[in-house]
């Protein structure tokens, strides 16, 4: 006991630098800052050298970093206490969106709170996995079947509220973030495989309930060439941009496809194509390495975390980040359907970046608020 105390005391003293006082994890911050710098250059290039857009992007990055710093100060046990209330608030807001949300582009995703417009589903990206983790943190892992069932019900209920907005893409991704908690909590393999089989079987039924525009997206995904003037145009142009980048790329500001306006949404959903065109396969591999580095660091933080709540939250947030990266890159390279999803830490745009940086703040808090002795 005595020895241990001295040891931890040593460890404590050794690490107590500037970053520790701020509750920042240096490695994670390094990866994030490298990605954000790349993002700023890309936004500048993809917008054709638009200074206004680049300036706004930098402002948003600054704001998001500040939020990360704030959330890193909140100890996980405080977050744990607030989790059920945040979930309740999130559910109420989702219901409010359905009842009197602002209808933007045919879907009511925004809640108009006077000066700010707010997207409750963005909040749920964080709060749902936290809630499921909160639920499972009450007992030993793996959780009982009853708890697993309750968790699955909460996930389905939340996703259901978002599906009716209607926003199928977001609802699937949010459900996914909750399911990762189930997975990390020790959901038995037989249930996982059973669920995969059941999903495959139920696909035709889902197809039946899709909106016409969603069906159209799936169809053009399967064969983009059939609709070269409409949604297929995006994928075709994106593939041309990526492929023509070759191994070395065309150089910074050298993306002809984005600059001649062939490539749509070049600063947001399709920013990866600009990177691939300008920096080639080498740039792509570097970027993916950076993502692997950040995710790996996040999963390491999860492995070192104390308590089931921290573990489950950290690991599921990192896997959610991975899914976003994979779906976006898969989309722009023609592996997955066009779902209109930004590339985390790269795309121009505010709310997704804010959510993501908050989740990094939570991770840093988990890593830096460990108790020396816990019982």
């Amino acid at each position: 006991m005595k020895i241990a105390l001295t040891k931890t005391d040593n460890v404590y003293r050794r690490n107590k630098g500037f970053l520790d006082i701020l509750h920042i994890d240096g490695w994670l911050l390094l990866g994030i800052l490298m990605l954000l710098s790349a993002s700023t250059l890309l936004v500048y290039s993809a917008s054709g050298g638009d200074i206004d857009v680049t300036y706004r992007h930098i402002l948003r990055i600054g704001f998001a970093l500040a939020l990360m710093l704030i959330f890193a100060q909140i100890p996980p046990n405080i977050l744990y206490l607030f989790t059920p209330w945040l979930f309740l608030a999130g559910i109420l807001m989702l219901i409010a969106v359905i009842l009197f949300g602002d209808v933007g582009k045919g879907a009511q995703r925004w809640l108009d709170l006077g000066p700010v417009k707010f997207q409750p589903s963005e909040l749920m990206k964080l709060v749902l996995p936290m809630t499921i983790a909160w639920l499972f943190a009450h007992s030993n892992l793996p959780p009982s079947y009853r708890r697993l069932a309750v968790g699955a019900l909460l996930i389905a209920f939340t996703a259901g509220l978002i599906v009716v907005q209607p926003d199928l893409g977001t609802s699937l991704l949010i459900a996914m973030s909750g399911l990762f908690v189930l997975f990390f909590a020790g959901l038995p393999w037989k249930i996982i495989f059973g669920a995969i089989v059941a999903t495959v079987v139920s696909l035709p039924i889902v197809w039946h309930f899709m909106h016409a525009y969603q069906k159209q997206r799936v169809l053009t995904f399967l064969d983009p060439e059939t609709d070269p003037l409409g949604s297929g145009y995006h994928i075709i142009q994106s593939k041309i941009a990526i492929g023509s980048g070759g191994i070395e790329g065309k150089g910074f500001m050298g993306s002809t496809q984005a600059h001649l306006d062939f490539l749509p949404e070049s600063t947001t959903d399709f920013i990866f194509s600009v990177l691939a065109e300008e920096f080639g396969l080498i740039g792509v591999i570097l970027l993916l390495t950076l993502y692997v580095f950040v995710i790996a660091r996040g999963l390491f933080i999860a492995s070192q975390a104390q308590g089931n709540f921290s573990r489950l939250v950290a690991s599921s947030l990192m896997m959610t980040l991975f899914v976003y990266v994979f779906v976006n890159i898969g989309m722009v390279s023609g592996l997955l359907p066009v779902v209109g999803l930004p590339l985390p830490l790269m795309s121009y745009g505010g709310s997704a970046l804010v959510t993501l940086m908050i989740s990094f703040g939570i991770l840093m808090s988990i890593h830096t608020h460990k108790k020396l002795l816990s019982q």
């Binding site: 006991m1 241990a4 040891k7 931890t8 460890v11 917008s47 054709g48 050298g49 638009d50 206004d52 602002d102 209808v103 933007g104 582009k105 030993n140 892992l141 793996p142 990762f180 997975f183 990390f184 020790g186 003037l229 145009y233 142009q237 593939k239 041309i240 990526i242 492929g243 023509s244 980048g245 070759g246 191994i247 002809t256 496809q257 600059h259 001649l260 306006d261 062939f262 691939a276 396969l281 792509v284 591999i285 993916l288 692997v292 995710i295 790996a296 999963l299 492995s303 104390q306 573990r311 690991s315 896997m319 991975f322 994979f326 890159i329 898969g330 390279s333 020396l372 002795l373 816990s374």
Partner: protein, 606 residues
Amino acid sequence: MNEHLEFNSDAEAQAEKNLFRNRLIFAFLFVLSLFTVLIGRMAYLQWIDFERYHLLAEDNRISVETLSPTRGKIYDRNRLLLADNQPVFTLKLTREKIEDLAEIEQHLAKLLPNFSESQRSKFFDKLRKTSRSKTLLLPYSLSESEAAEFAVQSHKMPGVVLTARLKRTYPFGASGVHAIGYVGRINTKEMSGLDERSYRGTDVIGKLGIERYYEDKLHGEPGIQQVETNARGRVLRKLETIPAVPGKDIQLTLDIKLQQYAESLFTKHKRGSIIAIDPRNGEILTYVSMPTFDPNLFVDGIDQKSYSGLLNNPHKPFINRGINGKYPPGSTIKPFVALGAIEKDYISPTKKIFDPGYFEYKGHRYRDWKRYGHGLVDMSDAIVQSCDTYFYELSLDMGIDAIHDAMAPFGFGAVTGVDIPGESKGILPSQKWKRETKGLPWYRGETIISSIGQGYNLTTPMQLAKATAILANGGKIIQPHLLRGQELASPQQIEIKDIKNWERVIKAMRDVMHGAKGTARRHGAGLPFEVAGKTGTAQVFSLNEADYEAENLDKSLHDHALFIGFAPVKNPKIAVAVIVENGGSGSGTAAPMAVNVIKEYLKTNP
């Protein structure tokens, strides 16, 4: 180690930790393998298939352009053009092709003296910061001589191209702007509510009136054009085209000549509304809200000076008085109250009441407008001479709820459903209304003043016109509308107990105009047709808009002048409601305006 101290006492915790660690390892392997898939995909596109995509990119000269649809035109009932699309000249600037922006700015300043300096510097600021490859349109329409001058000098301005586009114009200018509305630039808030696809390539949207209400019809669907471009993105050849579907032309029920005439009647008084409806089908013939303003100013964005001039105009031209002006209806509601009373047997039409010039209730004297009273009056006399005392006494027998029930079928206190966005519903008071909105019980004294259209009563000119039309057509609840062909196939009918009661009320309204004692007899005299009408003078108790300079006016001019009427009495073709803000008396100001509108209309539509 720390972790051992923490957990070795608990085997379960260790098992838990192992489980989690295994899952983490599995997840990380999952991440790595899927990223490998992505790298494989990229290697396939960028390495193996590089040649193919390289050629495609070099050859990527097929670009897709949006063809914006032509907005539907708006016609009046006689097919006169109310909203048109006129080709105008403007300049297109591409930053990439311009070497010296400051030089171009100077050239343009000389060339276009009417393009204000603030707008110019704002535009060039935007151009400086925007994407190099973007092309921006100058927010200014060149006159023909300016366009010709530009053509001569264009060699000095590379990257600036003369182009033609269609601009919405309103040939009748300010006339009927509150009904027709106008289009303006789409703002960010509107953009977020729009279907991106169908508004690609469109930069204006209906902001007000018909232009906004029938946006879906007028807008059309954009087309798509594949064009071949050279390596710098310049269009060489047009390939496949899906043509744009132009918006639908629409015809209104409005008679723009009659509208102009009605607006011209506002000379001495500046503010008010005249609405004329065909009582047979609900077609709106004129929709006057005065003062008006020129919609052409708004199409390309209004300059700050003109806008603040309009905004600060003491007569408030932006208020759409026809549907949003809420006025105490005054005596114009008397025919409706009287009809309700005799239909429901609250009073016999022949019963006479003595009017000493006031009505006393609980020690309070409610005055008649005529100081020494009207003497013995029956229902007909009470309407013809607009006797207040008769209605004071009748109202206590009826009670507020019976008055409410008599008037509600005529559309008071509810939106009329006219096809202009943002209609107000006014107030038709009842016990329930007061309890729900004010949380207070109803007082009998309030019933007394309600019976002459004062107190809580508030109506819009559109409601008055609709009610008058329903009275004129024998209880057919028509739907007032501006778009031709929108009349109800089978309108509801107000329940009639005895048609003679309706005839009595209409006869009394005829006598308002043509009887020996009618309040508006001097305006009914000598007409080639018979008019039924009712004057109203609504007291305005609070003038909160101090900038009306009301204190300089004669006291009586504080009152709003009202008139409702229809003609010909036997077979009504037009029903009119007139409100003149602070116009004085209904008989002096509003009645002659209504009669003139009717006369003008029946001249061409006998």
